[in-house]
Symmetry: C2
Subunit: 235 residues, 2 copies
């Protein structure tokens, strides 16, 4: 009665606190560099709590990863579907595809209780550290499926690009996205604040304009055999 929380509530509550503490520490230091003790200490729980609630450190990492990535990927697919329905038989405009690809990060960070900075750094860490090799299977598979879907759509929107060329440009685009998310504050530090504090919409808009131009760039005509110093080439 007088006690604010029952033990059962407290059980779920500690689980929640552990998750939040883990998210904070992971986003700050990366998944590898955080010990179970760091997490439980920040969460104000016992060392054993992680093993009790998550069956070990690894599964906690998995849950932290799954928590936001899967919703992001699902929203991406949902948005893509909407766009394609709207476009009918015509290809979806490139800018709209890019928007559908990155905006889910914004809507999901708002749905979450994480600060934007934490959320984006956390998302970035999911890729950066180990090339997605440490992702739980559910995430990796969802990711791959989502990418396939988008690849098709990008292919339609950019019919002049051959498949390989498109893959590489998407690769560049994803790199720009991840780096932007994970290291936005590095940019601020390096530029002594000259990068400003733009709204997310502004950053999104900048990103989409940059990448759409890059993706739309006309494919390079097949190399005309030509002799020259091997260290030089024409753009």
């Amino acid at each position: 009665m007088a006690t604010a929380k029952s033990k059962a509530e407290s059980g779920a509550a500690t689980r929640q606190r552990l998750l939040e503490a883990a998210e904070e520490l992971f986003s700050e230091r990366g998944f590898e560099a955080v010990s179970v003790r760091d997490i439980t200490e920040l969460a104000g729980a016992n060392v054993a709590a992680v093993n009790y609630h998550f069956n070990g450190r690894d599964q906690l990492v998995d849950q932290v990863m799954e928590r936001y990535i899967n919703p992001v990927n699902e929203e991406r697919l949902a948005r893509l579907e909407t766009l394609e329905r709207k476009a009918g038989r015509k290809p979806v405009a490139l800018e709209e595809l890019l928007d559908a690809f990155v905006r889910p990060f914004v809507t999901q960070v708002r749905r979450s209780e994480l600060s934007e900075k934490m959320f984006f750094k956390l998302m970035g860490r999911c890729f950066g550290d180990d090339g997605m090799r440490t992702m739980p299977d559910s995430v990796e598979q969802g990711f791959q499926a989502m990418l396939m879907r988008f690849m098709k759509a990008f292919g339609k929107a950019l019919p002049d690009l051959d498949h390989e060329e498109l893959l590489w440009r998407i690769h560049f685009m994803v790199g720009a996205m991840i780096h932007t998310m994970a290291h936005a504050e590095t940019l601020n530090r390096f530029t002594h604040g000259a990068s400003g504090n733009p709204s997310m919409e502004r950053t999104l808009s900048r990103f989409i304009r940059f990448c759409s131009a890059g993706l739309r760039q006309q494919a390079k005509e097949k190399v005309t055999k030509k002799k020259g110093p091997q260290d030089e080439f024409e753009f």
Copy 2:
């Protein structure tokens, strides 16, 4: 005489083997996930060797980082200087700036004894993991100085972009570069090999074309105040 190596030579050789083993393991697993025992074992040396030759693990990491990044940055600056001298008072062409920015990776990997894959992954790891926060000071400072120089040159080549806009586009470009280097084989895995096995020149050319188009994209006219659902915006 008859002995192949004196003790002193052997000393330098072990040091070298340790460096190479560290480079291989770091590039494969990242700087955090490799223990000194992993390194010494691969190098066929004693556990104490790292401390004897490098005064501890941290300094070994520093040396591995410095070994290639600094030459890359110096070559970048040298190339930029050459380009600017050649251009006289006119701005250097954007594609040439981008080339001067990324080509040093190629020339330095050839100078090194590392495989391309290892070298690029290693370079990527220097940034990815911790936002350059773990870089040795000499590297971070050199990096910052180099970036400043290039920022000025990019600004001249793109006079229509305001400073903040330019910073973000460079940020996108750097992200694409790092991701491309560090995760090229992730791309191959995800696409089941459809990304092909392009030469470095080809990848370089693709990257430069992608980024030059993105950077050149006309700046967005300042937002005209307009009411609409906050979740939507015009590109």
